[in-house]
């Protein structure tokens, strides 16, 4: 019979009610009842038994009130609920008997309305209704006094704000991506939640407002526009300042006043909430990408848009392909870029100290391993099995070392995102508009390197925006798109991470740079210099004073500082540029600061490590090439260049094997624009060594940057070429 299912549901509901332990419906039972009632409403609605629908709806409302604990009289509530179920049974009974319903549902409906204060057949209000009475606004004071909690909150809160910044920039690129909105919403929400426990009313309030704003964006009640993004960024900034204030406060430092009008911000947020949705959302992203790539022109795009709109409606990409303006491959590439999403690997947060300890220990293991290896090579009758087992052990150790090194690697993403925020702000200040392209954000780099490379990169980025990009007017005059493009790209090459910063600005003017260099006497002739070499001159100290170089090339403000910083990290800079087309700075850094590629040299009984990056060549000078110059000390003629000679054995006070340069070996090392010859007895070979600090007692020693434990267990000091220059100059 058609009512069977319905009747069965009602009976089940009634028996569940009978079997309740008490005359109170707890939350799990409410859930069960609600599900059954919904089932009944659906079924009864399908069969047009409207009295049942009405009763079930009323019962549902009573249950909701019970869940929120807002019934004035719980006993009465339960009684009404019971009577409703009984009424439903009665109805279902008559239905079963004669297929018709007779009975008065009015008293029940009235009782329900009286109880719940809601007219029936009305939707439950979706708003955040009355707060349950058991919510106490007064928060337990012992919470607030727990300083460690506040400290945790500060640390984690700041991290969350970083996350917000990262995601908001993503959102700006993909305003309709709900995932990104969610990713911003959540941290605000979490900050709010904890702030409410810690009684941080200002923080809670602001986070709450921003969260509401984002909630509206998420529900498509307002559109994500650049002003909205600005507002959220501003809000995040203020939130950050407030958290930093809190930090100052608990660390007993003077608290910087908050130079922000909170009420003005609140007002802006309110206005933004009212803004509503923009009716014409920017839908032509795909076209924009293709135009930007130079695949199609703006006219092509306009035309294709028209074609795509005329019935039969097509997607813009299809229209372009049909018109022959773009190949399917180009379109699919653009589409892929459009939907490119960051890979969200599942991660585990570990204390860096533990990680460093682990890596240290693995380093020790590697050293012990090479000691065993050496001992073994001296053993004549080592058993074959032992040899095999040990070589297996070596393989495991070295893969363990590689893996542990990788533990400290993090994607460059965050650095890039921070920079794109910077680019955005800078460009805005200067009235330039700029597109930012990030490529290879997943490229990994040592955690310790990230902070180190940030400053030089920032400087280059600042230059690119400041001086590289032309003003919008100039760009239009030059026939370029009004919006400039700055591209940050990262990738691995060899043992290095390469980071390129390119702009499509005015480019470097090599004639002017060369001219300047000649006048300054940096070079005597530019003949035979490659373009590359000329560009590199902007990195020289004499050529990069702000006012002078700026009118020459529009570049080079403090570039010598950048070069120094990069070289300190054992990195390199190259410059590529084309006048009027743009400039690219290519920097490469070692992936980690913990390992260094070094040349092992011997002086007397001591072994030293010279970083390979600093070495230009090695030679045994002829007797005629060595001489004394008054006031300059000993010098060696190396292929026409006179370089100072540093006798390492003198410097470190050891007895060498060979005293005279023509018996020993000279290693030419260079750094910061000058070079010198280091005199050593022999070259032992090349090795990758793990850098160990010498400890705080020895940290101010000039000429030595650290130590390394060598294969035979001995210690080799790592020479610091810069320090050696200074030492030699003092002499």
């Amino acid at each position: 019979m058609e009512y069977d299912a319905l009747i069965k549901s009602i009976d089940e509901l009634a028996s569940d009610l009978v079997f309740l332990d008490s005359r109170e419906i707890d939350i799990p039972s409410s859930g069960k009842f609600m599900n059954s009632l919904e089932e009944i409403i659906k079924e009864a609605g399908r069969l047009h038994v409207s009295p049942l629908v009405q009763i079930a709806t009323g019962l549902n409302q009573i249950l909701q009130k019970m869940v929120f604990d807002t019934l004035p009289d719980k006993g009465l509530g339960f009684g009404t609920f019971e009577s409703g179920i009984a009424l439903m049974q009665e109805i279902s009974g008559t239905l079963q008997r004669n297929g018709e319903f007779s009975g008065d549902i009015q008293p029940f409906l009235e009782a329900t309305t009286k109880l719940t204060g809601m007219a029936l057949n009305m939707e439950t209000p979706k708003e955040q209704g009355a707060q349950p009475p058991d919510q106490e606004t007064q928060v337990n004071k012992t919470q607030v006094q727990d300083l460690s909690l506040v400290k945790d909150f500060i640390a984690e809160g700041l991290e969350y704000i970083d996350e917000i910044e990262v995601n908001i920039l993503n959102l700006e690129q993909n305003p309709e991506n709900a995932d990104y909105i969610n990713a911003i919403f959540r941290p605000f929400h979490s900050i709010k939640g904890v702030a409410s426990f810690l009684n941080l009313e200002n923080i809670r309030h602001l986070a709450h407002n921003l969260e509401n704003l984002l909630d509206k964006a998420r529900n498509n009640e307002i559109t994500v526009t650049p002003p909205l993004i600005d507002l959220i960024l501003d809000g995040a900034d203020v939130l950050k300042t407030m958290i930093l204030q809190l930090k100052d406060e608990i660390e007993n430092r003077p608290v910087k006043p908050l130079n922000v009008d909170l009420s003005a911000l609140a007002e802006r947020i309110q206005n933004a909430e009212k803004m509503g949705t923009d009716d014409t959302p920017d839908k032509k992203k795909l076209g924009e990408i293709l135009v930007h790539d130079g695949v199609i022109t703006n006219e092509d795009l306009d035309h294709a848009l028209k074609v795509a709109k005329t019935p039969p409606a097509k997607k813009i990409g299809e229209a372009l392909i049909e018109e022959g303006k773009a190949t399917p491959k180009q379109v699919s590439q653009a589409l892929r870029r459009q939907s490119e999403k960051a890979v969200d690997a599942s991660t585990l947060r570990v204390d860096t100290r533990k990680l460093d300890d682990l890596i240290d220990m693995v380093g020790e293991l590697v050293i012990t391993q090479s000691m065993i290896q050496q001992d073994l090579s001296q053993q004549v009758n080592a058993s074959k099995n032992l040899m095999r087992d040990i070589s297996q052990f070596f393989r495991i150790t070295s893969s363990l070392q590689r893996t542990s090194m990788r533990l400290r690697m993090i994607p460059i993403k965050q650095t890039f995102q921070r920079m794109s925020r910077l680019i955005r702000d800078l460009a805005k200040n200067e009235g330039k508009s700029v597109n930012i392209e990030l490529i290879g954000e997943e490229t990994e780099i040592d955690r310790n390197m990230v902070d180190e490379i940030y400053n030089p990169l920032v400087h280059m980025v600042r230059n690119a925006v400041d001086h590289g990009l032309e003003s919008p007017e100039d760009r239009i005059k030059a026939g370029k798109p009004e919006k400039g493009l700055i591209c940050l790209r990262a990738y691995h090459r060899g043992g290095n991470i390469v980071i390129e910063i390119s702009d499509d600005g005015r480019g470097l003017n090599k004639e002017k740079i060369a001219d300047k260099a000649l006048r300054k006497g940096v070079v005597s002739s530019i003949e035979g210099l490659t373009d590359q070499e000329i560009y590199m001159m902007i990195l020289l100290p004499g050529l990069s004073t702000a006012d002078k170089i700026t009118d020459v090339s529009g570049r080079g403000v403090g570039m010598d500082v950048v070069k120094q910083a990069v070289e300190k990290l054992r990195g390199k800079i190259e410059i590529e540029s084309k006048l009027g087309v743009g400039t690219t700075f290519i920097t490469s850094f070692p992936l980690t600061l913990a390992i260094i590629d070094g040349m092992l040299v011997k002086v007397g009984e001591e072994i030293y490590v010279i970083p390979t990056t600093a070495i230009r060549k090695t030679l045994r000078p002829a007797k005629k090439d060595c001489s004394h110059v008054v006031g300059k000390g000993e010098i060696v003629n190396v292929m026409g260049q006179l370089l100072p000679l540093v006798r390492l054995y003198e410097l470190f006070g050891i007895e060498p094997e060979y005293k005279e340069p023509w018996d020993a070996i000279a290693v030419v090392v260079e750094g910061e624009g000058h070079a010198q010859c280091l005199l050593v007895d022999r070259i032992i070979g090349k090795a990758e060594v793990v850098i160990k600090s010498l400890g705080s007692d020895l940290k101010n020693i000039k000429g030595v940057s650290g130590g390394a434990i060598l294969g035979d267990g001995r210690i080799g000091l790592i020479l610091d070429t810069e320090g050696l220059f200074a030492l030699n100059d003092r002499k």
């Binding site: 332990d21 707890d26 939350i27 799990p28 409410s30 859930g31 069960k32 609600m34 599900n35 919904e38 909701q64 869940v67 929120f68 439950t124 209000p125 979706k126 708003e127 955040q128 209704g129 009355a130 707060q131 349950p132 058991d134 919510q135 106490e136 007064q138 928060v139 337990n140 012992t142 919470q143 727990d146 909690l149 945790d152 909150f153 984690e156 809160g157 969350y160 990713a183 919403f185 959540r186 929400h189 979490s190 900050i191 709010k192 939640g193 904890v194 409410s196 426990f197 810690l198 599942s346």
Partner: protein
Amino acid sequence: MDKQIKVLIVDDFATMRKVVRNLLKQIGYENIVEGEDGVNALKILKSQKIDLIISDWNMPNMTGLELLKAVRADETLKATPFLMVTAEALQDNVIAAVKAGVSNYIVKPFTAEVLNEKIKKILEKL
């Protein structure tokens, strides 16, 4: 009342987990494990016996509601008491959780007393 029960706190915000942990300690619950999101929580639930789950609603990867549904759908876990933490009284959320079989819910910010009451209510039904 058995204060030895093992409680699993699920929240992506570590400070929040600590807040809840402290509140639990105040009312005598010491046996606590933490999960940083729904996925992680499920792993924990699979590996050890948990007597009570206290989960936040809004989390990445897997929301509290999704976790609740996953727990209720799992034969071995489905009877585990589940207390949902929500922000304000977002009624729709609460009702959705109730329908999905939540044991009880609690609204942020809450005090140790309220938490105690809720836990008591949940446990006395067992």
